[in-house]
């Protein structure tokens, strides 16, 4: 048996205290312990537990959430050409790096949105996974009874879906009191709510390829709001919803105080490849969704067919500089102007640069995302120093900005500096 674990702690500090309701600091800690074991030549397994704590502190109140959850915990049967894995596991589909459109088999913890890297956001999920390895290709099937969606906070955090709206409504000088609550659809594990997928992988002349199909629940970070209790609202300034609410007051119809959130299903057809050419690593993914969720300006949601692709390359220069560049383009079929954040066509560039010093024990990193259509950006410069084996100190900035009405504009006030420590044992 092999035991291992990780302890990670990260504290953040808001760079500007420019809003009456905002988190000024946050801290996140987790302790993860894993055991790998071989029960026989043909049976192996893993048992993992994770204790996770996230706390936000602001002007108005503090909020803390601590959870103990199973991490990767599964049994794997190893046949000559077949593997069957049952249990909580992280399964990655797709070939692209940080920006991926096919990696939909793990749920993502988006309580601090994208301020953690993909590998830190992903969480295991209970799957039955069957892989059969043929001579030249691999066929894989996955199945789960438990419906899955990303986890976000509803209210009371700078990264929550509705920000601090509930408290803002209480404090806002409105002609009459307004409250808002969420009624989220609860889906029990069942065949009807199950998720399943198939993937075929192979290699053709040093090009790795895969095609996949996944029937799943909505993986978008937008909630599917079936009914919002305020009618006549038209959000033009997502970062300042109270301003829009005041403007809409003359025509506002209030149908209650509860927004209904559903968990619709989606089908994702995918294709991915990975190869190398003249020292470059080349990767790409394409995904077609039969019904992806988008938010409308009246704060209700809509499902639309949608496709997107990502193309990426990486290169390591002789001086040790590492470059990873990705281009993403997406298109909403049947787009209408009522859709809040997303234009019909949207394109992004993602850049990752890193360079090692002191035998790579010290590393400077820069992650950057730029929205070509929407002119938004997100920058994450970071410095990490392994001052001894298994001990890494890291720190950096999250800088976010976007023009009015864009998704990133909502998080414009969330620029922060952070410092963390990661210990492996």
């Amino acid at each position: 048996m092999d035991l291992s674990g990780t302890f990670l702690s990260r504290g953040t500090l808001d760079l500007t205290h420019d809003r009456p309701l905002e988190d000024q600091t946050s801290d996140r800690e987790y302790l993860k312990v894993e055991a790998r074991f071989d029960l026989s030549e043909r049976l192996e397994g893993k048992l993992g537990l994770r204790l996770d704590r996230l706390a936000f502190y602001g002007n108005h109140n503090g909020r803390e959430e601590t959870r103990l959850e199973f991490w990767e915990s599964y049994l794997r049967f190893l046949g000559k050409n077949t593997e069957v894995t049952v249990g909580n596991q992280i399964i990655r589909w797709g070939k692209a790096d940080e920006i991926t459109v096919l990696d939909n088999l793990t749920w993502q913890d988006l309580r601090e949105l994208f301020t953690w890297r993909l590998e830190e956001r992903e969480r295991p999920w209970p799957w039955l996974r069957v892989q059969h390895f043929f001579q030249n290709f691999t066929l894989e099937g996955v199945f789960t009874l438990w419906p899955m969606w990303p986890k976000r906070d509803d209210f009371d955090s700078d990264w929550a879906v509705f920000d601090h709206l509930r408290l803002a409504l209480k404090r806002a000088p409105l002609p009459f009191p307004l409250e808002i609550d969420l009624d989220k659809q609860k889906l029990s594990p069942s065949l009807r709510n199950s998720e399943f997928g198939l993937r075929l992988q192979g290699v053709f002349r040093e090009v790795d390829w895969e095609i996949s199909f996944l029937h799943a629940h909505n993986r978008s970070f937008y909630y599917y709001v079936r009914r919002f209790p305020l009618r006549g609202l038209d959000i033009e300034h997502p970062a300042e919803p109270i301003k829009d609410l005041r403007a809409a007051f003359p025509n506002l119809r209030i149908l209650g105080n509860t927004a209904r959130i559903d968990r619709p299903q989606d089908n994702i057809l995918g294709f991915a490849f990975e190869t190398t050419w003249r020292g470059l690593g080349l990767r790409g993914e394409f995904a077609y969704h039969t019904g992806r969720v988008f938010m409308k300006k009246d704060l209700e949601s809509v499902q639309k067919p949608y496709w997107r692709y990502v193309l990426g390359l990486d290169y390591r220069f002789e001086n040790g500089l590492y470059l990873n560049l990705q281009f993403l383009q997406q298109h909403i079929l049947g787009w209408s102007e009522k859709i809040l954040f997303d234009p019909e066509y949207d394109s992004y560039i993602f850049l990752r640069l890193s360079k090692g010093f002191l035998r790579d024990f010290l590393e400077l990193r820069l992650d950057g995302t730029y929205g070509i259509t929407t002119r938004i950006y997100y920058l994450n410069p970071e410095i990490a120093y392994k001052f001894r084996d298994n001990w890494e100190l890291f720190g950096g900035f999250h800088l976010i900005d976007g023009p009015k009405g864009t998704f990133f504009d909502v998080y414009d006030n969330n620029d922060q500096v952070y410092l963390g420590l990661k210990i492996s044992f």
Binding site: E122, Q131, E274, T276, G281
Partner: protein
């Protein structure tokens, strides 16, 4: 000395050749009168070459011999990598190295066992006999195997003084080779060969000088020079043994002469020809961690 022997053989041949003039008439008759001297010269050349048992090898031939040096059908080695900084402080990496060879290629799988922050990381290199290679890296944190581009060869191997390039086979036709002579290292006769890439992108080094042990075709020492011709790194084999009939370097050291730090590679245990499953050298196996 042996180099001189080869030159002597060549000189004998040159002396013999003028006496092998064949007139057109004789050629037409098909039975030259001077057949005997020619035959004798050839015989002497081949005999001497034979006696010297391959000592007339060219630099390219030696490079091929190194490239195709027998390493067994397969092997499994428990290895320690010790990083030593300029102040003498040590950091240890523990790994398992698996090798296998078939008619198509040589396969190498490196799996890190410690320290914990890199444990599980695995590197698979496939080096085809006809040139060309493929490399894959599995990082447990990413849960994904990535195909590695050629430019990755310039990357430092887990904080050590080895680059990925230093761990992979060098396909001889991609490089120029020049035989500089012969020397003894640790009382062991060696060929001294200088090599440099035909195409800059194939190596981070300007050139390197290799001391190849004649009995075994493996290196006793390699001096790496940067593109400006300045000595950069030195790889020294400190201990080697014949194990199960295969020459094995058990202790070697790569020293960065510019930055004064070094990496020691120690093979603690190695087993050859135990019939390793070919499926060990696949991406399926990389991801089993």
């Amino acid at each position: 000395m042996l180099w001189d022997g080869c030159q002597a053989v060549a000189e004998i041949a040159l002396v013999a050749l003028p006496s092998t003039n064949i007139t057109k008439k004789e050629e037409a008759l098909g039975a030259p009168k001077s057949f005997k001297p020619v035959f004798l010269a050839c015989f002497v050349i081949f005999f001497l070459c034979g006696v010297k048992a391959g000592l007339c090898l060219t630099a390219e031939e030696i490079a091929w011999k190194v490239y195709n040096r027998p390493i067994g059908k397969d092997s499994e080695a428990q290895t320690l990598m010790i990083l030593i900084d300029a102040k003498g402080r040590e950091k240890v990496r523990e790994m398992k190295i698996f090798n296998r060879e078939d008619e198509k290629a040589r396969y190498m799988l490196v799996r890190f066992l410690s320290p914990k922050d890199i444990a599980g990381t695995a590197f698979l290199a496939i080096s085809y006999h006809k040139g060309g290679d493929e490399q894959f890296l599995y990082l447990p944190a990413l849960k994904r195997t990535r195909r590695i581009a050629g430019s990755f060869r310039f990357h430092r191997f887990v904080n050590s003084d080895f680059f990925y390039e230093d761990l992979t086979r060098r396909y001889p036709p991609k490089y120029h080779h020049e035989l500089l002579g012969e020397e003894e290292i640790q009382n062991t006769p060696c060929w001294v060969i200088k090599s440099w890439p035909k195409n800059k992108k194939d190596s981070i080094y300007g050139y390197w000088i290799e001391w190849i042990i004649k009995d075994g075709f493996f290196h006793a020492r390699i001096d790496y020079y940067d593109r400006k011709g300045k000595l950069w790194k030195r790889l020294s084999s400190r201990r080697w043994e014949k194990i199960q009939g295969y020459w094995t370097i058990l202790d070697s050291e790569m020293e960065d002469l510019k930055k004064k730090h070094k990496t020691v590679l120690k093979v603690q245990k190695i087993i050859y020809d135990q019939g390793l499953d070919p499926r060990l050298f696949t991406r399926r196996s990389l991801e089993r961690w």
